[in-house]
Subunit: 264 residues, 2 copies
């Protein structure tokens, strides 16, 4: 395989980084391991002289860094995202070790962009941000002191990726995951439909949507599958609309829009 081709598909995405020195140190860490593409979501200070100082020669990575205003912008076109978490959460999205996850990332990187997603220094990634990823990775650390510096975490992940790329045997990816924006389009459509048919109410839909996100994250949806699922959603809505129209027709005295039956 061509190692460099695979690594050139990898984006390192840092969300809401507080200290510019960490951005510079992360750029240096990336470059030592052959990674070039840095994406910054709303960094507090950037560009910044501290970032330049800590980059120590990786100034090209900083210069080419893409500053984004949202995670969706940073993940535009990305087919596989690995998000970092310091904690092992009680959720059913897969949490892998770096050594388990990097070959998967490389496999997808053979043809299309992939991302490594890092949260803020203090609180890591939000649940919403993690919901955008297909795999969560936790760097095994001392349970009593598990807080790696963000640039140190970038170094470990870049290193694992680079080592994995050295020994990586090319194989065809089993699946062809749909790009990020299509997956998000599906989730938006799903949520809208679940409201429409009365499954979701305003009481805490976020938790249920998160649960569904995890399920479909594990499945790594393909484009054709998204087409099928959205087709189902469209038909379900049409069906619902038709039934409602019929209901209104048959109950003309009721002028108030009838409530969609609530799920008990």
């Amino acid at each position: 395989m061509n190692k460099q081709n695979h690594l050139s598909q990898v984006r390192v995405v840092l969300s809401h980084t507080t200290h510019p020195g960490n951005i510079g140190a992360a750029a240096r860490a990336m470059k030592t391991m052959g990674l070039r593409h840095l994406y910054l979501i709303n960094p507090r200070h950037f560009p910044d002289p501290q970032a330049d100082a800590m980059a120590a020669g990786a100034d090209d990575v900083l210069r080419d860094a893409v500053v984004c205003s949202s995670i969706d912008e940073a993940l535009q076109g990305v087919v596989f995202t690995v998000a970092m978490t310091a904690r092992l959460r009680d959720i059913s999205i897969e949490v892998k070790t770096p050594r388990e996850a990097m070959p998967l990332l490389l496999q997808q990187a053979a043809t299309q962009p992939v991302a490594l997603l890092f949260g803020t220094e203090m609180s890591g990634l939000t649940n919403e941000e993690m919901g955008k990823a297909q795999v969560l990775v936790s760097i095994p650390a001392d349970p009593d002191f598990s807080s790696l510096n963000i640039a140190a975490a970038v170094q470990v992940m870049s290193y694992e990726l680079s080592v994995a790329a050295q020994s990586y045997l090319p194989s065809t990816p089993e699946t062809h995951p749909a790009p990020h924006e299509q997956v998000e389009g599906f989730f938006a459509h799903l949520e809208k439909t679940l409201f429409e048919i009365g499954f979701l109410t305003t009481q805490n839909p976020a938790r249920l949507m998160q649960r569904l996100r995890r399920l479909y994250a594990r499945a790594r949806l393909e484009q054709e599958e998204i087409n099928i699922l959205r087709g189902i959603l469209s038909v379900a809505t049409e069906y619902n609309t038709r039934l409602r129209a019929r209901y209104q027709q048959e109950n003309p005295v009721i002028t108030k829009h009838p409530d969609v039956p609530k799920h008990q």
Copy 2:
């Protein structure tokens, strides 16, 4: 094996470190990976507020750091030393990768102290210092930009050591896939609903169901997720059931079961 016993035999030795911030960052990197024993050979500034700031909670490692005036003092009692080098030198001492070397270090650490030896920021270790080591280790890096920050190198080595020390797979939250019959129950419910809402017709539904099966097979559905999905399916058709009941109630003369609206 008792991981902590082995790691407690490991000394991280930094020779002639120039920037105190790097000492603090190295202490933090060590502590995240369960290493505690820091030895400093003639540091330029230590103790130092910059070291404290970068330690970010690993102040105990700094406080207990042993400041030495020579490498022999730092390696007193050590039975096995791994020295870091950025370059592959034309010398006859072995140069290994971190992944090759850390199991060797651990093996020796079972009973007696071992050391990981790091040189200065600018020039690394002297030949004399490297001569004290049993094994040289080079972290594989981009040949065009191979200079890892010293604390980043400490992080990578500590991480490799910690991973090597795990004789077990890190505990990831186990998924609890639902039993076969529940998954089949979901697929039957899904198919029935897709017919009912008019998404599936009699023309070759098998192929589409197969596609959906594959998608959910990849996700390895859990029981709770099946409950959610079947809840959605029930709500999607509930409206129709209610409407039908009402329709029959309001039109008692019609004995024939009314058709479900068909998808056009």
